[in-house]
Amino acid sequence: MPRIRPTRTEAIVLRQRSLGEADRICVLFSPTRGRIEAVAKGVRKPLSKMSGHVEPLSRGQFGLAPGRSLDIITDAQTLDSWPELHDDVVRMTEALALSELVDRSTDIDVAAGPLYQLLRHSFDALAVTPSPKAIRWWFTLRFLDQQGYRPELSACVRCRSEVGPEGNGYAAGEGGVVCQRCYESGIGQRLSSPVFRLLRYMRRSSCEATAQVRVDADASAELERHLRSSLEQTLDSRLRSRSFAEDLARAETIGRSAALAATAKEREE
């Protein structure tokens, strides 16, 4: 049987899962080949030369040889390891949310150059931004565009009239903003004017400029709701990785109440 030479591709590692005793299946995202599932052999053993090079949230150059069902990674060389995305759990959570969107929206062996560049650029920005959440919002708007669900932000998606600065609504299912009159007739969710301005600002601004915006908790929660419902339109299901952000936000409260319960129990005894 002739030996097939490995092909080389650049890719971002989206995720991994264990396979057998020492191997992992890596989900790679390549600009030319889209989503690739490939086996990294022996990477769970401490002396594997490959293990640190196939970690999720990193970008590298990979050699791939066709295996029986999946490709086999023959070698891996890291190009970007984005240590900030691994060392800071808030950045990690946001980066995983982007990975999940890409993982769930890309197909095997379909070129995805623009989405690849968007993801890479967003990871670069996430590593240094003072506002990781804003980078995810910025990414989400562009991701929706690329998926063919560009949210309409200037004309009412119902009656086509120009929308004013206030009193509008957001109707994810219909593709964007609705005017005051349509909103008051019961269409869409309330779109406050700060959030509307922020959406329009992010649409026209660079990732770096978006990273500088300051948003209060109410506006942030409202924006999350609108973007999430738009994403759920395109992926038609609930997103998983956001729930880790919620777990993390609850962690300190859980710890404090566990400590309180323990002292209460001690007093009883």
């Binding site: 995720r15 991994q16 899962r17 057998g20 005793e21 020492a22 401490p46 002396l47 030369k49 293990s51 640190g52 090079h53 970690e55 999720p56 949230l57 890291t78 390891s81 240590p83 691994h86 759990v89 990690m92 959570t93 995983l96 990975s99 999940e100 993982d103 998983r240 990785s241 729930s243 880790f244 777990d247 993390l248 962690a251 300190e252 409260t253 859980i254 710890g255 404090r256 566990a258 400590a259 319960a261 323990a262 002292t263 129990k265 001690e266």
Partner: protein, 209 residues
């Protein structure tokens, strides 16, 4: 799995069963099946008994959640061990590895997994509540997090350090860096960074001995 029509169905069934075990390929499964076939009946009986026994008489230790046949387990009951430190690990096999090395004289806690945001595995799927329950005990002074140095391990360690930190218990995490026997040349950037950050002063006194 491929097999010839000449294989008797009972043997095929045994081959299939072995093949389902982790790390056993079709060739090894076949070898094992024929080994059992040729072995004396007593050996097959011992194997079958051991398999059923492990299912029937093991459970989780009520304290550390490790797999045990006595509750609390031998490690939790050992009076020679210190109650001041609890080493938190992902899997029972991690306890076995640390015990083999003999590097920890405190207690353990087994989470039975790690937080994996992308697979939808959250803290409520792990033995976290059981761990918090043990921390009410005032003799616990330090929690050592011994998660794997990968993304799931990092997410788990970050979560636990927030919860436990809020309880006011000291938390440490095992160092990561270059494994013994590895080449610096082949190390990835993050491993090298960790190894540099956690570098230690060489004790000259010790060198002179």
């Amino acid at each position: 799995m491929q097999r010839s029509a000449a294989t008797a169905p009972t043997i095929a069934r045994l081959i299939d069963a072995f093949h389902r075990l982790p790390g056993i390929g079709p060739k090894s499964a076949q070898r094992l099946a024929y080994h059992v076939l040729r072995a004396p009946r007593s050996e097959a009986e011992a194997l079958a008994e051991a398999l059923l026994d492990v299912k029937d008489s093991t459970r989780l230790c009520g304290l550390c959640q490790n797999i045990t046949d006595a509750d609390p387990c031998a490690i939790c009951m050992d009076p020679q061990r210190s109650d001041a430190t609890i080493c938190v690990v992902e899997e029972p096999l991690d306890v076995a590895a640390i015990e083999r090395a003999g590097v920890h004289r405190g207690r353990y806690h087994v989470l039975h997994g790690a937080i994996s945001p992308m697979d939808g595995v959250g803290p409520e799927d792990l033995k976290v509540r059981e761990l918090l329950g043990r921390l009410g005990d005032t003799s616990v002074e330090e929690i050592i997090l011994a998660m794997n140095p990968n993304l799931e391990g990092e997410a788990t360690a970050a979560y636990l350090s927030r919860v436990i930190g809020a309880m006011g218990v000291r938390i440490t995490r095992i160092a990561h860096g270059l494994p013994v026997g590895a080449d610096v040349e082949y190390a990835d950037e993050r491993t090298l960074r960790a190894a540099m950050t956690h570098r230690v002063e060489i004790d000259r006194q010790a060198g002179a001995d």
